[in-house]
């Protein structure tokens, strides 16, 4: 039983150095002033105060949250019907469709985001089609529309796959029982299928919200240099202005927001409102 136990110890050392230590560094930098060395730490909450007292940063925070929530909502509204449509297909083509949805996620996100530049440009594909009908040109690049589109495009597969899994795992005899008890299709969907697939929706929400709130190259590529989200602020603190203390504080703020939202999502999951989950 204990034969192979020691094989984990090298990995414990590895994660202590490579995962725990860097995380501790972020916390340490976030609560200290610049220019300290190993012997003298000056602790301060100034980095956090600076963020919350500056309207520019607060605006960025709100915009990031707004974009992330909008992306998540669109992903649920579009992803659910798509997952449902796939789940209704015969079992064999179900596998095929899951593959169709999965393949793009394996292809480089940067490359796929860059591809939209040509499609959304003023003289691009969409505007050419619109122009054919005498509309436009509509400015799409460097707008909120382009940023949200890029995020939905990149993250919606996670939503679809999560919902699809919970839909196909569902016991179909519940639907037969509902039909036997006189429920029509809409009723059995609303009162059986939907509550049973809620856990999939919730884990999909986490998988979309998390990368959406922290994303920084999608706004840069599709929103342009002027389009600043919280990820861009963190990037510039580290790679341009070199203020690690402030940058660490911002990423801690972001991490805490994400933790809270994940906690809330889990709370909903175990809520009596999601009672349908119990089987």
């Amino acid at each position: 039983m204990k034969q192979f136990r020691s094989m984990v110890y090298p990995y414990v050392a590895w994660i202590a150095v490579m995962i725990v230590l860097p995380m501790l560094l972020i916390v340490l930098y976030a609560v200290t002033t610049a220019g300290n060395d190993v012997t003298t730490f000056r602790f301060t909450l100034e980095n956090f105060a600076r963020f919350f007292s500056d309207k520019v940063f607060l605006d960025v925070l709100w915009r990031s949250l707004f974009i992330a929530v909008l992306t998540t909502v669109i992903c649920v509204l579009l992803g659910y019907p798509i997952a449902y449509a796939i789940a209704q297909r015969p079992e064999k083509s179900n596998m095929f469709w899951v593959f169709v949805i999965t393949i793009p996620t394996w292809i480089n996100m940067m490359v796929r985001t860059y591809a939209w530049v040509g499609i959304l440009q003023d003289g691009g594909l969409i505007n050419s089609i619109l122009g054919f009908f005498g509309i436009g040109p509509v400015k799409m690049m460097y707008t909120t529309f382009a940023v949200v589109l890029g995020m939905v495009y990149n993250f919606i597969p996670f939503m679809i796959l999560q919902i699809h899994t919970s839909l196909t795992k569902m016991d179909k005899s519940y639907l037969e029982a509902a039909a036997d008890l006189g429920a029509d299709r809409l009723q059995s969907f609303l009162r059986v299928t939907l509550p049973l697939s809620l856990p999939g929706v919730l884990s999909g929400i986490t998988l979309v919200f998390l990368p959406a709130v922290s994303s920084f190259f999608i706004p840069k590529l599709l929103g342009g240099g002027q389009y600043v989200l919280i990820g861009n602020v963190i990037e510039s603190q580290f790679l341009t202005s070199g203020d690690w203390n402030f940058g660490s504080a911002i990423s801690m703020i972001m991490a805490i927001i994400i933790m809270i939202s994940m906690y809330v999502t889990r709370k909903v999951d175990t809520d009596p409102a999601a009672r349908g989950k119990e089987d």
Binding site: Q3, A115, L125, Y153, L210, S214, S251
Partner: protein, 264 residues
Amino acid sequence: MNRSRFSWVPKILLGLTVLFFYLPIVYIIVFSFNNTRSLTHFGGFSLQWYTKMFSDRTMMEAVGYTILVAVVATVVSTVVGTLAAIGLSRSRRVLRNIVEQINNLPVMNPEIVTAIGLLMFFSSLGISKGLGTMLLAHIMFCTPYVILSVSPKLRSLDPNLADAALDLGATPLQALTKVIVPQIMPGIVSGALIAFTMSFDDFIISYFVTGNGVNNISILVYTMSKRVNPSINALSTLVILLITVTLVIVNVVPIIKEKRRTKA
């Protein structure tokens, strides 16, 4: 009645889904063969951007670094992750819980947080950024995925099997390679595949921990995309091709093997 009248709705929906997912991919492949610089008007077929790409040293270096890092990170993280997962499955519950929690950190954390943590870590130690830091970082974020995909297989494995092998005189190494590993192979393979594509496609972490002119494909696309440069399309097509081939091999080879076995 109701059902057949609206049966076209899901078909249209799935059609639009395919269009949405694959249009950008097809678009970039088509325009990689464009004979003008334009990203919007297709002038005619040409291979000039491929010629440009293959003669561009930075681009070829980036392709080389990407493949090198992905292969090394996959091999190392698969071996380390598999051994750690086996060790973990036999560890005390407390240790197992702690390691699993820490292991989940890079998976659950936003990538940019992991990235800046590593950036400060390497800089604090005075390690100069470059190929070495990129390799370490990639191994660091790939291994958790290997563990996550191997661990469920270990949980469903009968622990007595390894003990039986040891009782029958197998050395621990033999028990490991002849009894445990073959049974968790599907988990190891899918873990390796995840590790490979994670490393191959990574942008954020690589972008923060690299230096000294060491770029991977994603970083190059990011820095080059600020100006219109159709060679990016050629490079992107190459990436799409490489990943698709990898996926097809990984998914089709087991099917062929299975067919051969059932025939024999």
